[in-house]
């Protein structure tokens, strides 16, 4: 029963890798579209990409740390 719950935990967080990449792509795409409308070509695309990386890492981290809280352990950043 406990191993089943573990399998379900693995399954729930199996998509975080591709979510990270999709975040970067979506924000890069938004930046690219704004660039193509306003003509300033590399600037907004790069800013969009950077925001995508930051947002993607943030979402991944929050998803994983909610798993940590849910499995009953202490916070990941507890100093020892």
């Amino acid at each position: 029963m406990n191993s089943r719950r573990d399998n379900r935990e693995y399954l729930r967080y199996s998509s975080v890798g591709i979510e990270l990449v999709l975040f970067v792509l979506i924000f890069f795409g938004c930046g690219h579209w704004v660039d193509r409308k306003f003509g300033t070509l590399p600037v907004f695309s790069l800013i969009g990409g950077l925001i995508g990386i930051v947002a993607g890492f943030y979402v991944v981290f929050r998803t994983i740390s909610s798993s940590d809280k849910r499995s009953g352990n202490s916070d990941m950043k507890t100093p020892k």
Binding site: R4, R5, R8, L11, R12, S15, I18, E19, L22, F23, I26, A55, Y58, V59
Partner: protein, 287 residues
């Protein structure tokens, strides 16, 4: 089966006549959609459905549509008699003792216990029709795709996109019903944050909400498409090399990949249903 081999014979005959029907064309032919233009369905396609609905949607009956209808007919033909038998046994106060009913009941009970009940608890009876339908529909679509001569209806982005859109609509609708109509604006961001951070976090949370069904769609599509491409490419190797020794090596490979595809069909249907249940349940509780 005969149509499958007939297509390959056409390819070989065409290449020997000097026209180059490349192997890539045959592979692409098996993986893309084709409007049916023979028989009664071809006649319906030419007359009723030849104009686009609302000017945009092409509603002709294609090969994938027929595969999905076959899966739906399989679902109806299998499950309605089972439900009648179970109900008839339940009115007598006992469990149905037929082995066919027990076969499908194993799968239904497994889905209910593993997928629906840990996520929903006391509302299991109300939501389980939807998840069971999704599971068996995807399962039958995948399995019908393994029969030689038919193609898999979940191996394209449109069908899996429609299934993922159903999940998205359910997530938003359950949020509306549980938390009120402004749930999208206030409900998906964690509470207790100051206002400027709230404004930055909200697009990220909204994109994350929409991204979960997109990942479901990509996962199911990629798994089904990759399996079918491998099977077709293995067989095309024999056609391209035209040698006996390649066939001796490729046929066991194809059999192995076919067995693997059977496993992948079950696993992908299960994973889709499980993740749908997890997403819907996480939208049901307050963040």
């Amino acid at each position: 089966m005969y149509r499958f081999m007939g297509i390959f014979q056409t390819a070989i005959a065409a290449s020997s006549h000097g026209e180059s029907e490349k192997p890539g064309d045959v592979v692409v032919h098996h993986l893309t959609d084709h409007v049916i233009d023979w028989g009664l369905i071809g006649h319906i396609n030419d007359t009723f459905l030849s104009s686009k609905l609302f000017g945009v949607f092409d509603m002709r009956i294609t090969r994938w549509v027929v595969m999905m209808w076959i899966a739906v007919i399989l679902c109806l033909v299998i499950f309605i008699p089972i439900a009648i038998k179970i109900r008839r046994a339940a009115t007598r106060g006992e469990v149905s003792s037929s082995r066919w009913v027990a076969l499908w009941e194993v799968m239904i009970e497994y889905i209910k216990q593993e997928v629906i009940e840990p996520n929903f608890g006391d509302k299991t009876a109300k939501v389980s029709p939807y998840f069971l339908t999704v599971f068996f529909f995807i399962l039958f679509c995948n399995i019908v795709g393994l029969i030689p001569g038919m193609s898999s209806a979940t191996g394209n982005l449109a069908v899996t996109g429609a299934l993922a859109t159903l999940t998205l609509v359910e997530m938003i609708a359950i949020g509306f019903m549980k938390h009120g109509p402004l749930w999208i604006i206030t409900g998906i961001v964690p509470h207790g944050l100051p206002k400027p951070i709230y404004l930055v976090m909200w697009p990220i949370e909204l994109v994350s909400l929409f991204m979960k069904p997109v990942v479901l769609m990509i996962r199911l599509f990629a798994n089904m498409l990759a399996g079918h491409i491998m099977i077709i490419v293995f067989i095309m190797l024999i056609i391209m090399f035209e040698s006996f020794f390649v066939a001796m090596g490729a046929i066991p490979g194809v059999i192995f990949v076919d067995m693997l595809e059977l496993l992948v069909a079950f696993v992908q249907a299960y994973v889709f249903t499980m993740l749908s249940a997890i997403f819907v349940a996480s939208c049901m509780e307050s963040h």
